[in-house]
């Protein structure tokens, strides 16, 4: 019981990271029906940006976090503009394969430019552990959870209250009707990439702080797990992505808790297979027939 509670706490921190990433997948899918497989690599770019500004510019943590979000947002918009926009009217599989290509380009490009070996992320916030009722919670775990929740609430406000946020929902529901309102789909798509990538960049900096180490391939596995989280929650659903992220994080730590550490990744993929078999539209997804 005690171990389970401890792993639940660990799972929530890890789940926050997956949730932030899953939101980007689900928003982009909602608007252009593309699984952006390069999304995990934006998270890596965010982590590297954080690393550089903390290490060489000696900024404080919050500046690193916010600037990583801005840089990642621009990176996301640039990738969309260069790689996906020219394929807007191509078959979906073309864009999907391109996304995988962009992912390889970012991973190997960063390895080539900066080396593939892991780096130590500057520990600008000194870790302190709190002991409550026999459970250990670190200040960094709390920080991750709080930042993730604040960002999710901010995202929800942007989507519900701002003009661009509403336009995003309109494009996701009915792109043709949205155009008839005078909404330029390209602006909405750029905006969506910017929002999703900013969250990924934030997640990258947070994970750097949590795991102390970053490398150019760090986005691969979390990227896929966050994709699973988005599918579990119901791809296209924003609350679904948050819940899915936490569930996957908790599942992963729970697998470790029962002594199956070696299978923690496998457990996530088993969940993907099971969800696709029994609940293909996910927890929050609407079951819709493909329109002809």
């Amino acid at each position: 019981m005690h171990t389970m509670m401890q792993q639940l706490i660990n799972g929530l921190s890890l789940g926050s990271i997956y949730a932030l990433l899953a939101l980007g997948y689900t928003m982009v899918y909602g608007v252009i029906k593309l699984i952006n497989f390069a999304h995990g690599d934006i998270y890596m770019l965010g982590a590297f940006w954080g690393y550089y500004v903390l290490r060489y510019w000696h900024v404080n943590f919050w500046v690193a976090l916010l600037s990583a979000m801005v840089v990642s947002a621009f990176a996301g918009m640039l990738i969309e503009f260069l790689a996906y926009r020219p394929l807007r009217h191509s078959p979906r599989i073309t864009a999907l394969i391109t996304a995988i290509g962009v992912s390889y380009l970012l991973e190997n490009g960063m390895s080539y430019l900066y080396g593939a070996s892991p780096r130590n992320f500057p520990q600008v916030i000194k870790q302190e552990n709190f002991h409550i009722a026999g459970l250990t919670v670190s200040n960094i775990q709390l920080l991750i959870l709080v930042v993730a929740i604040v960002l999710m609430v901010a995202l929800q406000l942007i989507i519900k209250k701002t003009k661009m946020g509403k336009a995003m929902r309109a494009v996701a529901v009915d792109p043709d009707a949205a155009q008839l309102m005078g909404i330029n789909p390209n602006h909405v798509i750029s905006f969506t990439f910017a929002l999703g990538s900013a969250l990924a960049g934030a997640a990258g900096v947070l994970i750097g702080l949590y795991y102390n180490t970053i490398d150019p391939l760090m986005g691969m596995t979390p990227g896929i797990k966050a994709f699973v989280a988005a599918v579990v929650g119901g791809i296209g659903s924003i609350p679904g992505a948050s819940v899915g992220g936490f569930l996957i994080g908790i599942l992963e730590t729970a697998t470790q808790a029962v002594g199956l550490s070696a299978y923690k990744d496998a457990a996530v993929y088993v969940v993907l297979i099971v969800i696709l078999l029994v609940l293909p539209s996910g927890i929050f997804g609407k079951r819709t027939k493909e329109k002809v």
Binding site: A177, M181, N184
Partner: protein
């Protein structure tokens, strides 16, 4: 105001619109009637910039618009109420209307627009915080029309606004089209309900197999034996 010249549009590999010419003058209600598949919707979608013509010219206030983006065409003052309503499900009635006013910047009188719309469509005021998908078909059609009006268009394109509605709403839709026109908005209406459409139209064109077969004033066509036999089932 709107002039369509020698318009050809392909749709799914077939020529859906062939050498179509017609015009809409400021202040008029003009209707295109014709059977299903005659090419009516294709013409409207091409004017709105959702579809591209193969050749031909569409001018709006003497400016060619056939290559403009849909967003630019809305900004120029042409709004479309699409066939099948296409309201934004999962968004409230109010949010749907806000999307209608998307082209207007923050400085415009949104409260005024809402007030006008709610006077014209009281049912939408009652349901403003409801998910638009929960409205009845007739209410959704009201919303689709109100949403298009939020852009304050000078020319309103209506694609089959009475389709699938209960008789009481059909009458309502045609009354509202008259009202909108009386308030100074020019109307281009596409309808399968030819009798009703002709009775409110200043002028009309009959479309078959992508070509214009006849034209005249609404009452002329309503009286024409050929139109009666083919479209009015008389």
């Amino acid at each position: 105001m709107l002039k369509v010249s020698n318009l050809f549009v392909n749709y799914g590999g077939i020529q859906a619109v062939r050498d179509v010419n017609f015009e809409v003058n400021a202040g008029e209600i003009v209707t295109l009637i014709g059977a299903n598949g005659a090419g009516k919707s294709t013409i409207l979608k091409t004017i709105s910039g959702i579809m591209r013509p193969k050749s031909g010219l569409i001018t709006y206030n003497d400016r060619a618009i056939q290559n403009d983006s849909a967003a630019a065409i809305v900004a120029a003052g042409i709004s479309q109420v699409p066939e099948g309503r296409h309201i934004f499900a999962g968004m409230t009635v109010q949010e749907n209307l806000e999307m209608g006013a998307f082209i207007h910047k923050g400085g415009t009188d949104m409260a005024g627009s809402f007030e006008e719309i709610f006077t014209q469509f009281p049912v939408l005021k009652e349901r403003r915080n409801q998910d638009a998908a929960t409205l009845s078909g007739g209410e959704q059609q009201m919303l689709a029309m109100a949403r298009a009006l939020m852009a304050r268009p000078k020319l309103l394109l209506l694609d089959e606004p009475s389709m699938g509605l209960a008789p009481i709403y059909i009458q309502k839709v045609f009354n509202i089209i008259r009202e909108i026109n009386a308030h100074g908005t020019t109307v281009l209406l596409i309808e399968q309900n030819a009798k009703q459409a002709l009775s409110i139209a200043d002028r009309a064109y009959v479309l078959a197999s992508g070509e214009i077969k006849m034209s005249g004033t609404g009452s002329e066509l309503l009286a024409s034996q050929q139109v009666q036999e083919t479209y009015l089932g008389a």
